[in-house]
């Protein structure tokens, strides 16, 4: 399975690298927020609060939309061609997911670098731990996105996912901490795993590592990953049986 995953990862990465414009555009939206919203936000908050929020938004927009790739492959017959090969069914999923996660990691590094130019200050250990958390979160999101894309009518995938991303970003507290929200909205946001990941990310960027918030973020993200990978593997396995 490892060899098949590696072969598929390399193939998909090569395709992604040919579409450099796609990668750049993927990071442009959070950069717009950084440039056009950051200076306003900085008057009431800090870059260490805003940049983690933009990273969560980027994760949702990048790996959350990964399913588009498999929609294209299903339409062109490429997915079916791979299904007739002896490649492991889990490898067919993981090869794609790894490509999405590497792309996300590059985008996050670019965003953080831009954040530093604006005034973000965070310790290297916090940044690395944050990146590790985002890699796990991105893996979950990509796996879930593929599961949704393979389950859903392909015409519905784009409107459903783009509609779902907006409330998920807002409820995570990406732009304003949910502690400022009314009680009902605060309670609602606690259902979302992205809030826990974001709060952990903010602590890590602030150099606070051994806190209950970080622990909660790690545990919730790990549980989310387990559920998402199980769902992705199940759906991919069924579709690709």
């Amino acid at each position: 399975m490892a060899r098949d995953t590696w072969v598929l990862f390399r193939h998909h990465l090569r395709i992604t690298l040919r579409q450099k414009a796609g990668m750049v555009f993927g990071v442009i939206q959070p950069l717009f927020f950084l440039v056009l919203f950051g200076p306003i936000f900085a008057t009431i908050g800090t870059w260490e609060v805003l940049v983690p929020g933009l990273i969560i938004q980027l994760s949702l927009l990048s790996t959350g939309m990964a399913g588009f790739g498999v929609v294209h492959e299903r339409r062109t017959g490429v997915l079916e061609r791979m299904r007739v090969t002896p490649a492991g069914r889990l490898a067919l999923l993981l090869g794609r997911v790894l490509t999405n996660v590497v792309t996300l990691a590059v985008q996050v590094v670019l965003l953080v670098a831009a954040g530093f130019a604006f005034g973000l200050r965070a310790p290297a250990a916090g940044l690395l731990a944050g990146l590790a958390l985002i890699v796990v979160l991105g893996t979950s999101l990509a796996a879930l996105s593929y599961a949704v894309a393979l389950t859903m009518n392909e015409q519905l995938f784009a409107p459903v996912m783009s509609t779902a991303v907006i409330p998920l970003v807002l409820l995570s507290g990406s732009f304003l901490p949910m502690s400022m929200a009314p009680a009902w909205l605060d309670a609602l946001s606690r259902v979302s795993p992205f809030r826990y990941a974001l709060e952990a990310l903010r602590d890590l960027f602030a150099g606070r590592y051994l806190t209950g918030t970080v622990l909660a973020g790690v545990v919730v993200t790990a549980l989310f990953a387990a559920v998402a990978l199980a769902a992705g593997t199940r759906v991919f396995g069924r579709q690709a049986a």
Binding site: D4, V7, L8, H11, R14, I15, E73, T76, G77, V78, E80, R81, M82, R83, V84, T85, P86, A87, A241
Partner: protein
């Protein structure tokens, strides 16, 4: 090479697409699988290529149990789907490399085999072209090339010449014959072109309403009629409105 017994497929909603199909294909044969739209050709082919689990029945394909060893079956067969499967944006050389490596070939073996298959199908020099930049005939040959990278002993072709002009069709027939005659590949194909079935196939199986309606050599089935007449006599003249299954 293929042995099935009582193979059936009932979809969710109760549609019985394939009913109790028992068939046999010998090594080295070119067998045509004919039937009207919705007769069950593609469903049968998808079951035999491990893409669709049968509801009941058993089958041995290329020496391995379809249900007990699907991965071993996949290692030994090639399949070309009805709609094709070249990515319009990816160079066919990259796709062939991926294909070979997913079948366990090393990179060196894959490169050698890619060159061999491209030459065999007269696609040499087109490795860097994406599927979207190929003509219809070239794209169809590329589809077949993907299915041949690992030297399968059995090739499934689902309507391989649909939509191609007569020259390209005739050319593709030559390639299909060469696969059997020069490389010993057993071929199981579906087609709506009865002249194609007559010209290419050693034996024909006709399926209708999910059941095998007739089997024999083209000469046996024709029995003094044209193959078109024989086909209509066996399957009736009413229009089939079902979706293709």
């Amino acid at each position: 090479m293929i042995e099935t017994s009582g193979l059936s497929k009932t979809f969710d909603g109760g549609v019985r697409a394939v009913r109790n199909v028992t068939l046999s294909v010998r090594p080295g044969e070119i067998v045509g699988f004919l039937g009207p739209n919705g007769a069950g050709k593609t469903t049968t082919m998808r079951m035999l290529t491990t893409l669709l689990p049968p509801t009941s029945g058993t089958a041995t394909v290329a020496g391995h149990g379809l249900l007990t060893a699907p991965r071993e079956v996949r290692r030994r067969i090639g399949y070309v789907s009805q709609s094709g499967w070249t990515d319009p944006a990816v160079p066919i050389g990259d796709e062939l490399e991926l294909q070979g490596m997913l079948y366990g070939l090393s990179r060196t073996e894959t490169r050698a085999r890619t060159a061999e298959v491209l030459a065999m199908l007269e696609l040499g020099g087109l490795e860097s072209r994406p599927g979207g930049a190929l003509s219809g005939g070239q794209r169809r040959r590329a589809d077949i090339a993907f299915a041949l990278t690992h030297r399968p002993v059995l090739l499934f072709l689902d309507e391989p010449t649909t939509g191609l002009d007569p020259q390209t069709r005739a050319h593709l027939w030559d390639h299909i014959r060469a696969l059997r005659d020069e490389h010993g590949v057993t071929i199981f194909l579906t087609t709506h072109y009865l002249d194609e079935a007559d010209a290419l196939c050693d034996r024909l199986l006709i399926i209708d309403h999910g059941e095998i309606a007739a089997a024999g050599t083209p000469a046996e089935l024709k029995a003094g009629r044209t193959l078109d007449e024989a086909f209509l006599d066996l399957t009736g003249r009413s229009l089939r409105e079902e979706a293709s299954v």
